[in-house]
Symmetry: D2
Amino acid sequence: MYSNTHKIRVRYGETDKMGFVYYGVYAQYYEVGRVELLRSLGLSYKSLEDIGYELPVIDFQIKYKKPAFYDDEITVVTLLSENPSSKLIFNYECFNANKELLNIGSVTLIFVNSKTKKVCSPPKIFLKKLNSL
Amino acid sequence: MYSNTHKIRVRYGETDKMGFVYYGVYAQYYEVGRVELLRSLGLSYKSLEDIGYELPVIDFQIKYKKPAFYDDEITVVTLLSENPSSKLIFNYECFNANKELLNIGSVTLIFVNSKTKKVCSPPKIFLKKLNSL
Amino acid sequence: MYSNTHKIRVRYGETDKMGFVYYGVYAQYYEVGRVELLRSLGLSYKSLEDIGYELPVIDFQIKYKKPAFYDDEITVVTLLSENPSSKLIFNYECFNANKELLNIGSVTLIFVNSKTKKVCSPPKIFLKKLNSL
Amino acid sequence: MYSNTHKIRVRYGETDKMGFVYYGVYAQYYEVGRVELLRSLGLSYKSLEDIGYELPVIDFQIKYKKPAFYDDEITVVTLLSENPSSKLIFNYECFNANKELLNIGSVTLIFVNSKTKKVCSPPKIFLKKLNSL
C-alpha cells in the first residue's frame, strides 16, 4: 500500500455558478494525486509514456460529500492499493482545510502498449521500483 | 422511464495527448445529456435554479470501454430511471458514429433548497410535469 | 472573405462562481467557430492533421463586452478574413439570444509540418478548395 | 510595479492531441498568476468578492511563442503595471524549466459592485494596502 498527500488550490475557472468546484474537475485533481504519488515513489508517469506505455482510465467513481469552494486548499490523499497487474487502482479522499471529507473515489487505469494499443503488463522497471520500496 | 438522445461534437480542447477525449470531460457530456433530457420533457434545469433549487451531484460513476477522438460525433443516451424523490438518478451510454459503446455511467443529483442549502423534495411543478407525461 | 455562424449552448461546467461563462472558455467556443467555418467550406480540420499538418495558435485576443450565462445559446460568428498564407487569421463576434454583442476577438493559427515541426505553406488541396469557392 | 513568480505543473487533462497545453488553458494559468500576485501583497481576491466586489475580465491577449508539454513546470511571471483605477492590468510572461519564453500576454479586469453590477472604484482597503507597499 502506497500513499501520498498533495495540496491543490481551487482555481476560479474550476468553480461553477453554484459557487462549488464543478463535479467533473475532480477528475483532474485525482489525476494530479496519482501522478504525484508515482513521483513520490521515484516513478514518472511522463517517462512511462516516453518508453512506450499509455495508461487510459477504464473506471472512475466518486461520491461527493461536501462541496469545495473557490480558493480552498484541497488535500488529495491517494492510495495505490494493490500490487499492480496490468491494472492500477487508485483510491482517493479529498479534504478541505477544516479536514472535512469532501469526496471519496477511485480510478482504475490499464497499461497499454502505445504502439499496438493492446493491454500489456507494466514495464519491469516499474515493478522493480515498486518492489524495492 | 424517460430517455433522450443528444449528439455532441468532440472539441479539440477536450482531447489529451493520447489523442483521446480526456476522461473527466464526460462529466460535461453527461451534464448536457441530462439537461437536454429535462428540456425534452418541457423542464428547464435553469428554471429550477431560478425558482430556488440547486441540484448538486452526489455520485458519479463511469466505465470507459473505448476512447472517443477529436471531431467525433458522440451520441449521449440519457435515461431517468426512477420516479424522482429528492434524488434524480440518470443513467448513461455514449456511442460513437459507428455505434460502438464508448462508456456507461450514472450520475445522481439531489434537490437542495438554494437558500437553506438543505435537501428538499422536488418542486411540485416538476413532479406534476413528469407525472403528466 | 468567408464567414460562418454557429450556435453553442452554454454548459453548467463552463460557468464560474460569478455566474458568467469563464473568460477562458471562449477559446473553445472560438475553436468550434473556426472548425465549423472550415467544415462549411468543405474543409475538415481533422483531415488537415491526418495528412500531416498541425495548426497551433500563435495569437489570441478577446475583448469582453457582456457576460454570457448558463444555458444561453451563443451565436459565434467567425470570419476568415484573408487569403491564407502560412497563417490563418480568424475574426470573431459572439452574440446572445437578444443579439447583444458579448465579445469580439481574433485567433491566428500557423501551418506547421507535423513531422518537421517547421512552419510551412498550407496544403495545395486546402488552397485549391478555398480558391474554388 | 508589483511582480510575482508562481510555478504551475501542467496536468494531463490540460494537454491536447498535439501534445501541447491547449491554448485556452493559459487563461487559468494567468488567473492563478494574478491571484498569487495579490496574495503575495497581502490581498486576497476571494475576500474582495466577500466584501462586495467582482472583477470580470474585459480584455485578454496572448502571443504564443513555444508550446508547453505534459508535466512541464511552468513559471508564470505576473506584473501589475499601474496604479489601479477601476481597472487592473496584469502583464504576463510564461517560461518553461529551460527558461524559454512560452508566451506573453495581458489581462484587464474591472471592479464591479456585485450588487449593482456597475463599474466602481477599488475598495479603499485595497488601495491602502497597495500604497503602503
